[in-house]
Amino acid sequence: MRLSSKTNTLLALAALIALAPLFFPSSYYFRVGSLIFVNGLAVTGLVVLIGYAGQISLGHAGFVGIGAYACALAPVHLGLNPLVAAGLGAALSGAIAWLVGRPILRLKGYYLAVASLGFGALVSMVLANEAGLTGGPDGMTVPDPGLRALLKSVGIDLSNAAFWYAFSAVVLVIGAWLALNLYHSPTGRALRALHGSEVAARTVGVDVARSKLQAFVISAVYASISGSLLALQNKFITPDVAGYMHSIELVTMTVLGGAGSVIGAISGAVILTTLPQVLTVFQEYEQVMLGLVMMLVMIFMRDGLLPSLSRNIRGRGQ
């Protein structure tokens, strides 16, 4: 019996996540791991938008910000549990994406880039300036959802870092599973068709505007949940999460690893999340190295790191 590539992908991902802690010398590694999963989740959403549908967004950190601040604000003002707040943030992000996406997605290429950039800038500006509500640039604290305490009461006692490692890993695997399923669904096929050629997709009956909007809303929900996870595990949030640089980082991770595949993009998240941690040793050279990696991969491995490498390996095997 041959397993489908989807199942293989998910099993490989789950195995890697489960086995990695065996090699962790300290809890700091759990912390980096959960940061990778948080970014990996947002990046999985961008695979749907960039890799499947071929649309770019330079403002997705705006949705990350909405998700993050939902977890901080809703418990204070509405008395909700932070996890419920995360769901609320995801719904809000989806609704905003639906509203904003309709006009924005009519634009193409660089015009779409600047429009989405403008959207992201607006969100981060509101978060930074409405100090009375959001604490302004100083940020605000995020309450604990009480999940770890719940686990402890049934006898599973995890350290804080290990708990968030496990929790974000589960969310990431679910997110990857959904995105992989979408790839082979009619919606996914429609998205890939319009990626190839919008005109051709339209002639075979794909509702191009509707499909693009679906991809945008889905990727916004992923970004929002990623923001919520980040807020919950950091227990503190600043407007930087919604900033332009974070949007760029997410798009770079997606394309660096390979926007066409979920695993490729997640490997991009692994590289760009760990690189700054490794490079703190050479703090002076951090930006130089980051810029070089971005340029070299995009110039010499146009489809992204993972697809290019696997093609090389397969090519040599023949």
Binding site: Y244, E284, Q287, V288, M295
Partner: protein, 290 residues
């Protein structure tokens, strides 16, 4: 009235810088279909090179000339080392390559110089000039005059010289230009040099007012990119109008509404324009090729 005049004058000064950055975007976009997100870095380099040459004892005009030439050389290097090898890559890859280049340049500047903010003296003193009840720094006049001079110069270059027309021909149709014997690789190199030099000049002109530091490029690139889009990508007239409009809208918002949301106003206007006119104010309508 003097208040309004004051806001408009300061808006035009900032807008002139945005217009120069937008013009840099336009020149490179026309020659190569690449939007160069490292454009803001050219402005930063223009300021930084001038500061450090000046502090090393070189007279200011010479220091400025060195800065512009050095930045132009960096622009050429960017084209040769990063853009040419990536010919034909999709828009997203090109965006990431040029953003990578901007991060790289920022990092190298920080190592070569420092993380401080710097300035050098204004060209003709700091005594404010009175215009219709508003006060203007003499350096603002330099910025505005410099931007106008660049536009006139470029207009003459594009309409009156053979090289300029070769650039226009390449912008219009790359393959047709090659067929009539235009060296399009040379045109691309020239465009990067020109665009970097214009950016550096903007940096030289504006540093006495706004100061320069290794990280001032990002904000300028975003504003210049937005201005170029507002005007219609690839159109020099659009770059000028888009830049000035953006500067004035920001200044008026900061003056009458809220200084915190001045950037928001600019983006709201740009979004509104793009929704009504998806090609920008002066953009040409493109048709899909199947």
């Amino acid at each position: 009235m003097p208040e309004l005049m004051q806001f408009i004058l300061s808006g035009v000064t900032v807008g002139a810088v945005y217009a120069l950055v937008a013009l840099g975007f336009t020149i490179i976009y026309n020659a190569s279909d690449v939007v160069n997100f490292a454009q803001g870095e050219f402005v930063m380099l223009g300021g930084m090179f001038t500061v450090f040459s000046f502090e090393a004892g070189i007279p200011l005009p010479l220091a400025a000339a060195i800065a512009i030439l050095a930045t132009a050389a960096i622009g050429v290097a960017l084209n040769k080392l990063a853009i040419e090898p990536a010919r034909g890559a999709p828009v997203v890859s090109l965006i990431i390559i040029t953003i990578g280049a901007s991060i790289l340049i920022r990092g190298l500047t920080q190592i070569a110089f420092d993380k401080q903010l710097h300035r050098f003296p204004a060209f003709s003193g700091d005594t404010p000039i009175q215009i219709m009840g508003a006060t203007v720094l003499p350096q603002s006049v330099w910025v505005i005059a410099g931007a106008l001079a660049v536009f006139v110069g470029l207009w003459l270059f594009f309409t009156r010289t053979l090289t300029g027309r070769a650039v226009l021909a390449t912008a219009n149709n790359r393959i047709a230009a090659q067929l009539v014997g235009i060296n399009t690789r040379y045109v691309m190199t020239l465009s990067f040099a020109l665009s970097a030099a214009i950016g550096a000049l903007a940096g030289v002109l504006v540093t006495p007012i706004t100061l320069t530091g290794y990280d001032i490029g990002i904000a300028l690139a975003l504003k210049g990119f937005a201005a170029a889009m507002l005007g219609g990508m690839g159109n020099p007239k659009g770059a000028l109008v888009g830049g000035l409009l953006l500067g004035v809208i920001e200044a008026l918002t900061a003056g009458y509404l809220s200084s915190q949301y001045k950037d928001a106003a600019a983006f709201v206007i740009i979004l509104a324009v793009l929704f009504a006119m998806p090609q920008g104010l002066f953009g040409r309508q493109a048709t899909d090729r199947v």
